[in-house]
């Protein structure tokens, strides 16, 4: 129950900006510094979370070796940026396969 309420509160917190956007559309300048700052904070937040999830994850992901997680990321970057001309599906897919393969090799399973 507490989780449901939390999810609903987070949903409202997200919709707030979408609804405000409809209301303010045509009336505010999106090139203003406030929006640059907000973009910076959001970017930094997600970057921090992503690095943390890869470098020091909790839960299931902690069972994979740090080196394997980093190599899998590198594989995904190479496939996305260099090999498939930015196909997100193949990029994610290759990282997924790489991590499973590396972990299987390491654990001998």
């Amino acid at each position: 129950m507490a989780e449901t309420l939390l999810v609903i509160a987070c949903g409202l917190a997200s919709y707030l900006w979408r609804g405000l956007g409809v209301l303010l559309s045509g009336r505010i300048n999106t090139a203003s510094p406030v929006f640059s700052w907000v973009a910076c904070v959001a970017y930094a937040m997600i970057a921090g979370l992503t690095v943390r999830l890869v470098v020091m994850p909790g839960g299931t992901l902690a069972h994979a070796a740090l080196a394997d997680r980093l190599i899998a990321c590198a594989v995904a970057f190479v496939v996305y940026f260099a090999l498939t001309r930015r196909n997100l599906f193949f990029g994610i897919g290759s990282g997924f396969v790489a991590l499973i393969a590396l972990t299987a090799l390491r654990t001998g399973g």
């Binding site: 939390l6 997200s14 559309s25 937040m45 690095v51 995904a76 196909n87």
Partner: protein, 234 residues
């Protein structure tokens, strides 16, 4: 029931790579929810109600480390603030001659990165009257598929051996890592990325509950301030 041309066109546009990528991201999200012992229906509700993968991962991770509810909501709110400029720029494209206000507010809930990027590009080519339905058809397809994918990811992760589960919970971090790097255009954003990448994990080592919000605020503000003073003086 009969759908308009624009709506059907939107649904067709959604089928393919954009929805496949969304599905992969949300299967990963469902797997994380299972990992965090979040009830499956609440996880699916979060996809329906928040409809933004970064905000949802923030919700999962912060609940996982037992952050106070208010801090979680604040962090999610910050991560969703990008929807304001996105909606402000999208609405003039979607708006027809007659203003269906209610439909606009409904469509606004469906705005997220994938649909926004497609309509910003494709929208202006379409007849004005079809655009709002086109966007609705496009976005609602991704939304429904993602809600289903959340449930699927949950049960996949719950029933598979550890090795496969590791791969599935890795999908979301991978997705963000690629999208963040692919999206880098300005120096300010690159600095935000670097500072955030340092601040988040460092703060996490001391205070996991505040790390996402504090890391973002500190790292992002630092990048913003440095870039602005840098510009002013040179």
């Amino acid at each position: 029931m009969k759908f308009s041309t624009g709506f059907c066109r939107g649904v067709r546009e959604a089928m393919g790579v954009p929805t496949a990528v969304l599905a992969a991201g949300y299967i990963g999200y469902g797997a994380i929810a299972a990992d965090m012992k979040f009830p499956v229906l609440v996880a699916m509700l979060s996809t329906a109600a928040i409809w933004a993968l970064p905000g949802q991962i923030i919700l999962m991770e912060m609940s996982g480390v037992g952050a106070p509810a208010l801090v979680i909501v604040l962090a999610v709110m910050f991560s969703a603030m990008r929807f304001l400029p996105m909606t402000v720029t999208l609405m003039p494209i979607l708006r027809g001659a007659q203003r269906g206000r209610l439909r606009e507010y409904f469509a606004a809930h469906l705005i997220a990165m994938t649909g926004w990027a497609i309509v910003m590009r494709r929208g202006p080519e379409l007849p004005q009257a079809e655009r709002l339905s086109f966007f609705t058809g496009l976005a609602i397809t991704g939304w429904v598929v993602s809600i289903a994918a959340t449930g699927a990811g949950f049960f996949i992760a719950d029933s598979l051996p550890l090795l496969a589960r590791i791969g599935f919970v890795f999908l979301s971090p991978l997705y963000f890592a690629i999208v963040l790097l692919a999206d880098l255009r300005e120096r300010m954003m690159a600095m935000a990325l670097v500072f955030g990448a340092i601040c988040g994990p460092v703060i996490h080592a001391f205070n996991p509950q505040w790390s996402v919000l504090a890391g973002g605020l500190i790292g992002g503000t630092l990048a913003f301030a440095l870039r602005r003073t840098g510009r002013r003086h040179g």
